[in-house]
Symmetry: D5
């Protein structure tokens, strides 16, 4: 799998080992299983554990996690560190104490390459967010270079819009739309 998936294309099925903060155990994320359960998948890539610049993004994501879950989305944060490192970092870093979503391990870079966020020079992933529909289609992407952080509220807004539209395909969705507003 070396090609990049573009928005609008079907995402090939893949699996990833995870550290699951809620149980403190190791687990596995499977796109196939997410699709079978009718869930949306949100992949949230970041460069590396134990660096000083990322935890706030993950903490913000933790705050909207309950709402994303309610909308039918499974959230997985992803870096190229191992699940052992995720466990250690989660225990060590105070900013992560509210993180409940699975932390995915992509040490081979296979998943990161598939979404075009793998940096061959450093072996790390860029900050990219990807929304996959319950049918397995990539419906949204966002990638930032530098250390420009992402906005978890905006992710929530887009997830809401996607979830709404799938139930109301005949409606067009204007910019900044929020559920309850008319398009």
């Amino acid at each position: 799998m070396s090609e990049i998936i573009l928005v609008g294309q079907e995402v090939p099925e893949f699996e990833m080992e995870t550290y699951e903060p809620e149980t403190g155990k190791f687990g596995t994320f499977s796109l196939k299983k997410a699709k079978e359960e009718g869930k949306w998948t949100i992949l949230f890539f970041y460069p590396a554990d134990f660096t000083f610049v990322c935890p706030t993004e993950l903490a913000d994501l933790a705050e909207v996690y309950p709402q994303l879950k309610e909308l039918g989305a499974e959230v997985v944060s992803v870096s190229t560190d191992t699940k052992f490192v995720h466990l250690a970092w989660h225990k060590d870093e105070k900013l992560l104490e509210n993180v409940k979503y699975p932390m995915g391990a992509d040490p081979t870079g296979a998943v990161s390459r598939m979404f075009g966020v793998y940096d061959e020079n450093t072996g790390l992933a860029l900050r990219g967010t990807f929304i996959i529909s319950p049918e397995g289609k990539l419906v949204g992407s966002e990638v930032n270079f530098y250390n420009v952080g992402r906005n978890a509220d905006e992710l929530l807004r887009k997830m809401k819009a996607n979830a709404y539209l799938i139930g109301h395909p005949e409606e067009a969705c204007p910019a900044k739309w929020e559920p309850g507003k008319k398009t």
Copy 2:
């Protein structure tokens, strides 16, 4: 040019014909010129003129345009329609009356293909936003499938963060950061 530019890569130089609402004339956007003037470039792709679902995105973008300009960014909206059609639509559609940024014409789809938002089946562009640094590097991307609209305020936030970071490379930028806040 058939390859897709990923975040972190250098964008090949290109030109595009435009309709310039401020003067009512036709012009040309040149990435080379933007770089020479030290400007950021924001490309704002949308599917087609004269459809009923997009104008609000363009109107919202019009509202933050003055601020984006102040931050040193040139904004260009892009569809695969011709400049003649842009002119006609701008005159015809009330929602566009405040649009002042150049409206780029990509009838061959060459620019849309370069950023991976060209749909070969319809000849139209997906809703994608791309931020190019004054050095010509792609530093941010966002693409939505379906009719999920974009948030102009979020674009403004990211542009501010990028503009700030370029002057303060040693600072890490946490999520949701706004200028004035500490990282």
Copy 3:
């Protein structure tokens, strides 16, 4: 489909979205359907909607349209604009008020390329007219560069000659022939 169809060759089947001025709705042109209905097809390419130089050609074509229809021909004008733009232009441009034939949309350029009139540099179509027999064979072509306009009366004459010859294959058709005259 990247090869050019020459006169005398079979035209591969294709479809095109259209704006139908008679009903004010969107439709689809299908070569397969035209063949099944025993109709001739006349494709009338022009560069772009909303330019100042083409409408007279389309208006002239509108005048001979009833006669062409009576001869068993379906006429479709074609540009690389979308059907949305065709609709807008038809409403906006007085010169088009008598246009009743379907206006075909070829935003991907696929149909224009097939007939060798797609200009890769501009994404627009050259002024080309093509006559396809009810069996699907290309029997006539005419292409002009520059802004040399076409003569609708001449098109009518050629269509008449083609229609006559198909019923009288043993007769040779001299130049300038008009029905009723002997060859």
Copy 4:
């Protein structure tokens, strides 16, 4: 040279042997020479000498030949017969008695192939007319299948329009335009 020249492209230079009715001698047509003399070139292909169906086209062409010449155009009729056969036919066929333009011989089919009118099954040329500008660009083409004859007056009209436009490039040329009329 096996590719077909499309309208808008440069025509590769070529030569052809001719029978020259005005002197009764054999000669040579050279595109290079025509370009050096600033002349337009009109190639008028037809299937074969000594058949019963073509002479009227050539006779009609003979009538407008003086006017075409005045507009700066060199006319050459072309079939895949030899120059010897042209001579014999010209002497034998009454309908050709006013033919004064050079009759080109293309027994190898090289020129016919270049313009896409060579029929590999019969070794004959289709009825095609091609206008080449003094710069050597193909600016007009017309090809008919079956025995649909061409209209010499229409050719004259197009030649006039081309000649006019080259001196007035800023003017758009509406359909059916004739010199003296405004566009």
Copy 5:
């Protein structure tokens, strides 16, 4: 079919349009039919109709034609002119008045190429004579460059020798052999 047939090889089946002087009508030569009828085939290529240098060869061939026919051979003269031109020439040229054998038309050059006598520079055939056995094997070839004419009597001698040998395969045929002589 672009390969050259050598003596001793099987000739691929082919057809050619003809002008038949005996009936004044057009016909078709078919190698397959000749083989089915158990006939030998003699192909007699020459450059072009209506030239001043060839008719004597064709007239000489006309003189031995009855004898060749009696030996079971079908004779076909071949040039790259059309059957229409053959008809016109036969009527026009006194030297051909005794020609009774079919005159084959090879305007595509396909048959001439097969026997290696097609001149790609001029589109004409060299002076070549080929004898094909009733089984379809090429058993004799003779080709002259320049304007060196062929000897019809010699052709008759070789045809006789071939016809004799096929009935007496055990006999060797010495040079200059004539039937009745012992080998």
Copy 6:
């Protein structure tokens, strides 16, 4: 050298060992040398020495040899036997006692292949005669299958015609022409 030389093409230079009956010694035939001396070359292929069917052809050729020489032609008989075998055969076979021309040895088959008369199944040469002009161009060919013998007088006639024409290129040469006759 694996391609076959056609009439009208330049013959690549080659050498061949020979037995020279006039001196009883071995020699070498060189096309280069023949060309330098302004000579025509006549190659006379036959299948094999010491068979019962060929010698008469070689004897007939011996009779016209003095006249061919006078016309400026060098004659070489060729088989795939060695020069040793030629010597032995010439001494042994009475029919060859008047043979004075060089007997060429082509044991590798290289020369026979070049003229298309090498039979890969038997390693022998077909009965082929080839005339090469002083400029090195192949101007005449004749090949017979079966045991149809060649006519030395006819060879002489053709050689005379070739020799005459080279000095009178403006004259066309009718069939059966003999020097002294008018064309």
Copy 7:
């Protein structure tokens, strides 16, 4: 670099980021620099930080590190974790408190692949030890599958033997040799 280096071959030059426990800072290991300083290089690969099974190997290595250094060898432990993770693990894990050698980070797996210890399925490195001479040649390798631990004393013995032999090339080195013993 996708090929595997075998014992006896030259190791291509490479660099690796490191965590340096002695200073608590990040650094860089460079083979080029090691060679310029005349040092031996010992690479000590292990699967992953923060797992429960490896630390004893690293602790044992720490004990012989002073002696290896005295023999002129630079020791670098390597896993595919980042330098940030190495820092975190070193602070967190008691068993590592005596580790003073640089801890190399190979997150892209490039160095691990070069020595054939990269596991494409897991993105981790096998337990492999490699000794590189001051000239850059690979002179020793040892790789264990499963969780079979390595013996630091044996590594010290081999390093001593290598260091001795380089100064006494004429002596053969028997098994189990220790300096001071005769071979």
Copy 8:
């Protein structure tokens, strides 16, 4: 078989002729048979018989051979000499008098190449030791360049650890581990 087997990969089955010191006869080592008998295989490569530097390694190996056998391992020493030479050397060299394990002959170098220890320049094998599990997987490798001898006691330790782990897969094996110690 030209690829090198890495630790963790399955070893392709192979056979080797041997000299069996215990019986004084020639035999065959077969990996397939070793696997069927549930045995571990230890291959012990060395450069050449009858040289002055190797015998001590083989003698040391002879000392631990009984213990390795008890652990379920078959030991085979291997060089590229023939079995005849092994027999001769074993009889001739006193240091080998206790060698009881089979001495493998690899005169084609096929086995040595498979494990990456064949030196193409000399045709000899490097000093490499390889442990293959009863399932046929390569689980340990060690290769020394120069004349650095191997340590038979260390080999015994690793074999013990491997044998222990296969029965206790859940236990991690720390460095320097010896059976009876806890991990």
Copy 9:
């Protein structure tokens, strides 16, 4: 068949025309038939008939021919001359009067190439002797360059040794062995 057969390889089946001195007729040698009859085959190549240097080799071979036959071997001498030439030479050359073995004709060089004795420059065969076992395996070869003659007695000795060994495969055959002697 362009590859060379090495000693120890199977010889592909082939046939060759022969002159059979015993009957004075032409025949055919077939390897397939020789194998079916359980015979050994001895091929004895030499350059050419009718040369002054070879006959003694063939005469010597004639002397041992009865003994070779008794050992079950068929002998065939081979040159690239035809069978006609063999017949002529055998009658002409006194030295060959005792030659009774078949004289094989290889005018295409196919058999000579198979055994690597064909000289592409001269079309002749080198002096090579080849022994083929009744199973069709090449078991002996000998080739001499220059005019170094072969020793028929030595050929007889080798044939005896081969014939003996095939019946006593367990015996090794020392140099110079003769039947009756012990090895």
Copy 10:
């Protein structure tokens, strides 16, 4: 070097390590050096040292060695064993006590492959003898399969013939020739 050298071709230069019985030391055979010294080279391949079947061949060769040397030939016996094994065998085997010629070691099989006597299945050489002229051309080859031994006297005879012929190139050498006899 993977191609086989045929008799008549130039042998590429090569070197081989040797055991030199006369001095008891190791040496090197170099074809380049042999050629510079104007010597003939005789390579005498055999399968393996320490087998029971070959020594007699080597002993016979030893007897004619002084005469071969006198004729200007260097003799080298060759097997794929190492020089160490040659030394050991020479000391051990009584039959070799008179062997004085260098014993070449070809453990990589490179030289054996060059002469087509390497058996890929066993890694041993077939019994082949090769004579190389002082100019480096292969002038004689002999290869035996099975255990058919070679005849040293016959080798001497051939070497004498070669040596004689090189000084008397004009003389043909009949079979069984011995110096002093007339050819």
